[in-house]
């Protein structure tokens, strides 16, 4: 095919400590297939488990490259970046796709210097046009959209969750598993992880990956129960404004906005959220925006598809109860 890259397309296989793939990886594999031949990159000499290999086959991965870091700490982003720089040079890779998490953006910055790659982060799509990788992204707090072409032979694109609909291939592949030893530069290990606490996984979907996010702001006055119940009936995640996290009403990791998590779910519902520009920067790219706020002058109403002027403590429970009723009626 003409609009396929000649070199392999690497996809970083982000996984949880228990060895399961993070959900957005399936989106990257789906996108990666449109660009060229997909290599899944697994960090850690032990390689992926059988279930993961089967999933990779189902998503059309041709090769799984297993990187042996020789005991170096895979939680250090310079270690990851140098391992990827090594591998991409050895394979003549044309592109690397990774999820746009905070740590992966650190990886991308170092990789750009180490391998001379052009880098696009927080992208919402990637494709090949005239042999070059072109990535789309929204900028300036979701008010502008841009398309960027990467001018270098090796392109690094970090994609936001929900960039593509994961689609398995019609007939699964049997990925070849290839082990690679990695040599790391001395300065990759200068920093050490003294402590690390994995966040406990709740039953709700992860904020950055959820299709539905219900957000509580100062207007909740610390009572998130109405927000949580609506999120649960919608199968969504719970987010917050910086005011709510600063007040300690909910963990800092729930913060959405310019200095928190950037989200682009199908549905965003903000309750008691004014829509300050710092917050909008992290959610304005959402598909449908609903706002419930008692002040008709709140700026969030300027960007809401459905704005409800009202008290969140009456509107949300009423909606939750009605949705439960509808669901029960559907069986």
């Amino acid at each position: 095919m003409t609009n396929h890259l000649a070199g392999p397309v690497l996809v970083l296989l982000d996984h949880a400590p228990d060895g399961t793939l993070r959900a957005p990886v399936l989106e990257l594999l789906t996108l990666g297939r449109r660009l060229g031949s997909v290599h899944g990159v697994w960090l850690g000499a032990e390689g992926p488990g059988g279930d993961v290999l089967a999933a990779l086959g189902a998503y059309g991965v041709d090769v799984v490259d297993v990187l042996d870091l020789g005991g170096a700490d895979a939680r250090l982003t310079p270690v990851v970046a140098d391992a990827l720089a090594d591998l991409s040079a050895a394979l003549g890779a044309a592109a690397l796709l990774l999820t746009s998490s905070f740590d992966n953006k650190e990886v991308a910055g170092r990789l750009g210097v180490r391998s001379g790659a052009g880098v696009v982060v927080d992208a919402s799509d990637a494709r090949v046009v005239d042999g070059r990788v072109v990535a789309d992204k929204t900028v300036l707090a979701g008010t502008w959209t841009t398309s960027c072409a990467v001018r270098t032979p090796f392109a690094v694109v970090a994609l936001k969750a929900n960039s593509a609909q994961p689609e398995p291939v019609a007939s699964p592949t049997q990925p070849a598993v290839v082990a690679h030893p990695v040599t790391l530069a001395d300065d990759a290990r200068q920093a050490v992880v003294v402590e690390r606490q994995e966040r406990t996984r709740s039953d709700r979907p992860a904020l950055g990956e959820a299709q539905v996010v219900v957000v509580g702001g100062r207007g909740t006055d610390g009572d998130f129960s109405a927000v949580e119940e609506l999120a649960d009936v919608l199968g969504g995640a719970v987010g917050a404004t910086r005011v709510a996290t600063d007040e300690g009403w909910i963990g800092h990791d729930a913060q959405i906005g310019q200095t928190g998590v950037t989200i682009a779910p199908r549905l965003y519902i903000g309750a008691g959220v004014s829509g300050a520009v710092h917050h909008r920067g992290g959610m304005q790219a959402s598909g449908v925006i609903v706002a419930v706020n008692s002040d008709p002058e709140s700026p969030i109403f300027e960007i809401a598809d459905l704005g409800i002027v009202g008290d969140l403590f009456t509107v949300l429970p009423q909606a939750t109860q009605e949705l439960r009723r509808i669901k029960a009626a559907q069986g």
Binding site: A81, G109, G112, V113, G116, V119, V150, L306, G310, Q318
Partner: protein, 262 residues
């Protein structure tokens, strides 16, 4: 301790910001400010110097009015500033900017050793967060990014940071590069004394030639990505605003069902 803090002049995020056809930010609105997140970087640097002694040097790269960002850092308490000013820098991507900043840090280090480089977590214009990691790599320094808390003790720097899936404490020997989040501190406001003192503080203006950098390696010519298209997002259509009459919750549920969001 000698600390270099990198500061950027950006369009005020409260203002109407826009892009040119080539994807570059329109920067002539006259309402530029010091990137808010860099105030946290300056504050972190000043607090460390107050605790351990030493001085803070602010560095900025950009056109004429970028010096305002450096001036603000001087007003807050930095001792001196460097402004890299060269037409060839226009249109630089993050790697071009990192090349220039790295050259400045090396030059400052030749005069007197640099113990720490501090940056904000992101520029509120491009918001890529790539610069700290690119700059640390250029300088061969350990990277401790996204610090919500920074401490220096016994020749080592220790930061606490929140990642997507975990909370981490990282440590590295000095010299090192730290980027701070807005959780790290509450930036001080320059007082009258600080504003007066800043007028007498030196701002060293450097060109690419002073830094030994080839003009074509940075700027739009050296950029590794190119914007093909930039468009203002169309306003949302069919927006509805309703006032709760006692049934808005039902209306919300119906809206979600109609739009297949349930």
């Amino acid at each position: 301790m000698r600390i270099v803090v990198c500061v950027k002049h950006v369009p005020d995020i409260q203002s109407e910001r826009s892009l040119q056809a080539d994807g570059r930010m329109v920067r002539d609105g006259g309402d530029g400010t010091l990137n808010e997140l860099d105030e946290n970087a300056v504050e972190a640097a000043l607090a460390l110097v107050e605790e351990h002694g030493g001085e803070v040097v602010a560095v900025t790269v950009g056109p004429d009015d970028a010096v305002d960002a450096a001036r603000r850092a001087l007003q807050m308490g930095a001792e001196q500033a460097v402004h890299v000013l060269d037409d060839a820098i226009a249109g630089s991507d993050v790697f071009g900017t990192a090349t220039v900043l790295a050259a400045v840090v090396r030059r400052l280090g030749d005069q007197e050793s640099v113990d720490l480089v501090v940056t904000g977590m992101a520029g509120l214009d491009g918001l890529t967060s790539l610069l700290p990691s690119a700059l640390a790599t250029e300088l061969g320094l350990p990277l401790l990014a996204l610090a919500a808390e920074v401490r220096v003790e016994d020749g080592a720097v220790r930061v606490r940071r929140e990642l997507d899936h975990a909370t981490e404490v990282l440590e590295a020997p000095l010299p090192a590069l730290v980027s701070v989040t807005d959780q790290a501190n509450e930036p001080r406001y320059p007082n009258f004394k600080g504003i007066m003192a800043a007028r007498k503080k030196p701002v060293d203006v450097l060109t690419l030639a002073d830094l030994g950098i080839e003009p074509q390696s940075v700027g739009a010519a050296g950029a590794r990505t190119e914007v093909l298209e930039a468009a203002a997002r169309p306003p949302r259509e069919d927006r509805v605003l309703v006032t709760d009459d006692g049934e808005a919750g039902l209306r919300l549920a119906a809206y979600l069902v109609e739009n297949k969001l349930v």
